[in-house]
Amino acid sequence: MALAFPFSAIAGQEEMKQAILIAAIDPGVGGVLAFGDRGTGKSTTVRALAALLPQMQAVAGCRYRCDPAQASRLCSDCRERRTHGPLPVETVSVPVVDLPLGASEDRVVGALDLERALAKGEKAFEPGLLARANRGFLYVDEVNLLEDHLVDLLIDVAASGENVVERDGLSVRHPARFVLVGSGNPEEGELRPQLLDRFGMSVEVKTPTDLATRILVVRRRDAFDRDPEAFIAAWAAEDATLRAKIVAAHAHLPTVDVPDSVLESASRLCIALGTDGLRAELTLMRTARALAALHGRDEVTEAELREVAPSALRHRLRRNPLDDSGSTVRVERALAELFGA
């Protein structure tokens, strides 16, 4: 219904854009949280993502768009169908699903198909938003205002990659692997650490203070509002170039090498910052590798590591709630200490 502002036309906000691109190249990095000032285009950037995503292969007719190449992740229907012969394949768009505030639990996890139940007396499962987001992106705007019981649900499903529904006398489980993308304004409340942990990257979005960027933002937004179709057409070539870059980087990703020296640097950085467990290191590596792929490199270098470190680590430093030096500052300090200015 509402047309999306083109991604390439977004001025400034380089860190947020880069994080979104990294998530598009390697969904395995685990999502992006964009937290920051009002009126900085957080949701505009996320909604622009859909137009950049390449198409993907899915089992034709499957409600969860199962990946035919990943036998272990097929839903029960597809597994059943596969015993009768090869699965038909179709090309579909990668879904970007909005989880609107005020959504009720049954719409999120799925529930009894009311229409069929009322009309035919059949007990059938109607998939929810989690099913629609499988193999795609789930976007929660104002994620810090999401009600607690939905947060619990997201935390659980995001970790397991599977949605288990036990309600209305139904017992259904289906794959629900999605990249969680959230945005919000920290003044309206903080996020639970468990939910923070589900985001691979977190970016701090600040309002641009240089005049040239601000003028550009206002001018482009104004042009878009006046004639969205023409504006999108004017930027179509740029968006197509970017999409091609994502496709190339995605294909290139498995061949990007991570030298031992870079691995060691990543570990040292995480130790210096006192991050919990191995997740921080893994995410740091994956984001650095996706960035190297985007840059067309065959090997991750320290430069990529340094570039992604703030996004990959800043939300994992919540050890001491009373330390008020910003986490970005702490990451940058550790980077300077380890690698020199």
Partner: protein, 574 residues
């Protein structure tokens, strides 16, 4: 200047020309002729069929967003959705009454509709999207400084108007508005004009990028209304005066105004004129800026200074109270089978869901003609656990009577308690008293970082206006309780006082005043705790605690766990 309408008089007409583009208006002030006049002028200027919906404060999500139409569903035997208020208002105006009390959630729903021009409902068995191109008229009746329409909403509405000062709006006829709407699509605005508005907003210290964008749209609407095809400099000035001036957080100094005290600035702004490549553009900017400065109400400078001081302490000042207050609506307990009762409400939808699969079966064995056959065993209930939000108000004696090392210890104690509050997700507020009076260092917040910063920057020394400290905490507690919160007061003092309520020095009067305030607190029935910070447990603090009806705790015995246990015992329970 007498014949031309003032900028504020143009707001209703501009909004009528481009309601969705401009987002709407915040009308701040009590009901009265100013507000009524504005609403009447807006309504008269809008096309007759324009939807006009009033948003009640207590609206439910299903009414706001849309949901299942239960009676139609039962009648038809299949799910039928009904549109919510936002969808009904498509193409028109939503009046948000008592906007200063909007919950964060309702605010977010309104903002989402404003941003996207549509509403997405995913509720109760229904998933639908409806167009919702709306403009919002927010009636902000806040009186105190902190009571204000949510900043997320203010950010999206082009105009912020004080209704008390509002003269009769300049009337635009429906025909004029319709002509202007037709013209609007063709009105051009030069790049320089956009640059001037962007630069001006930066100079005025306006962070949000929505402000200059809304100003561009306002300028265009004004040009259309005046019958111009190109936005003129006057249009730009008017738009700046209406959209940017009320959002200014600092007033730039020009050469002739050096007599004014410079507003304190936390950081140097990226400066204005020296970066302008084009001198002509710089001139336009200057003239626009002058027009805007003329529109900035007198007294704003003083307010800005106060705000800037606050900001230094607590990064984001003015927006306190109203936002954080309503907070959690509590988690609706799980829905399960059971009998409805006082604490469990019948959940009709879930009940119908439960009953649905059995219908064909039941119909076969029953002669009833009812569309849906519901039996008691289908009843589903939802339990609500409405949790009152707790706010702990720390009142800290920062005067000279508290020796420096004791102040440090008191700070340490507060820090421990802060960590506790963080774990419980409680709000905290902080008041310090020293010198002549008391000051709210930190309005209620859940941000631990801000609390800690406020605490660290707490200066010491000066007289001990204990009465003022207690009075200030009583007022804040009252404010919190009025908003439905549960306040608790933690007073850190040695019980001595030497500044009376009228700020005159003198131990005796100061002591009497303090006791009187303390009794007042008891009368209001506030939960409180007095932490005695004197070297040895003193009679003074104990008497004060008695007068307050407070739990008394001498700090020599108040280690970390002791303190937090004491606070736990005082705080209202869930």
């Amino acid at each position: 200047m007498s014949e031309a309408p003032s900028p504020a008089q143009m707001v209703a007409a501009l909004l009528a020309v481009d309601p969705q583009g401009l987002g709407g208006v915040v009308l701040r002030g009590m009901p009265g002729p100013g507000r009524d006049g504005f609403l009447a002028a807006l309504r008269d200027a809008l096309p007759e069929e324009t939807p006009w919906r009033r948003l009640p404060l207590s609206i439910s999500d299903s009414r706001l967003l849309g949901g299942m139409d239960l009676s139609a569903t039962l009648r038809a035997g299949r799910p039928i959705s009904e549109r919510g208020l936002l969808a009904e208002a498509d193409g028109g105006i939503v009046i948000a009454a008592m906007a200063e009390r909007l919950t964060p959630l309702t605010t977010a729903q309104l903002c989402a509709a404003l941003d996207r021009g549509m509403v997405v409902a995913a509720r109760e068995g229904i998933g639908v999207e409806h167009a919702a191109n709306i403009a919002v008229v927010a009636l902000d009746e806040g009186i105190e400084e902190g009571e204000i329409a949510p900043s997320a909403l203010r950010d999206r509405l082009a105009f912020l108007v004080e209704t008390d000062r509002l003269a009769t709006p300049s009337a635009a006829t429906r025909d004029e508005v319709l002509m202007a709407r037709l013209r609007l699509a063709h009105v051009e605005i030069s790049d320089d004009a956009i640059a001037a508005l962007a630069a001006t907003s930066l100079v005025l210290g306006i962070d949000s990028l929505r402000a200059p964008l809304l100003a561009v749209r306002a300028a265009r609407a004004q040009a259309a209304l005046a019958g111009r095809d190109v936005v003129s400099e006057e249009d730009i000035s008017l738009a700046g005066a209406l959209v940017l001036a009320p959002r200014a957080t600092r007033i730039p100094q020009s050469e002739h105004e050096e007599a004014e005290p410079p507003p304190p600035e936390p950081e140097t702004p990226p400066e204005n004129s020296d970066k302008q490549p084009d001198p002509a553009q710089g001139q336009m900017e200057d003239r626009v800026l002058e027009a805007i400065k003329a529109a900035i109400p007198a007294g704003l400078l003083a307010m800005l200074q106060a705000a800037a001081l606050r900001n230094q302490r607590a990064k984001t000042g003015g927006k306190a109270g109203a936002w954080q207050k309503s907070g959690k609506r509590g988690r609706p307990g799980s829905t399960r089978r059971g009998e409805p009762g006082p604490k469990a409400r019948l959940n009709l939808i879930e009940t119908l869901r439960t009953a649905a699969p059995w219908q064909p079966l039941r119909r076969a064995e029953s002669a009833s003609l009812a569309a849906v056959l519901v039996r008691p065993e289908d009843f589903m209930v939802t339990r609500f656990r409405q949790r009152q939000e707790r706010t702990t108000i720390f009142v800290v004696d920062a005067s000279g009577s508290l020796a420096a090392n004791r102040l440090a210890e008191a700070k340490g104690a507060v820090e421990l308690l802060l960590a506790e509050c963080y774990v419980r997700r409680d709000q905290v507020a902080m008041i310090a008293f020293r010198g002549k009076g008391a000051e709210i260092l930190l309005p209620p917040t859940r941000s631990l970082v801000r609390a800690k910063r406020a605490l660290r920057q707490l200066p010491g020394g000066g007289g001990t206006p204990l009465a003022a400290g207690i009075a200030s905490s009583a007022a804040l507690a009252e404010q919190i309780a009025r908003k439905g919160g549960a306040p608790a007061i933690v007073l850190l003092t040695d019980g001595s006082a030497n500044i009376a309520r009228d700020t005159s020095p003198g131990r005796i009067q100061a002591g009497l005043d303090a006791m009187e305030e303390a009794r007042g607190l008891r009368g209001a029935g506030r939960c409180s705790l007095v932490v005695d910070t004197s070297q040895r447990p003193a009679v003074a603090a104990q008497n004060l605690a008695d007068a307050m009806g407070a739990v008394y705790l001498p700090m020599p015995y108040a280690d970390a766990t002791g303190l937090s246990r004491a606070v736990q015992s005082v705080l209202p329970k869930d």
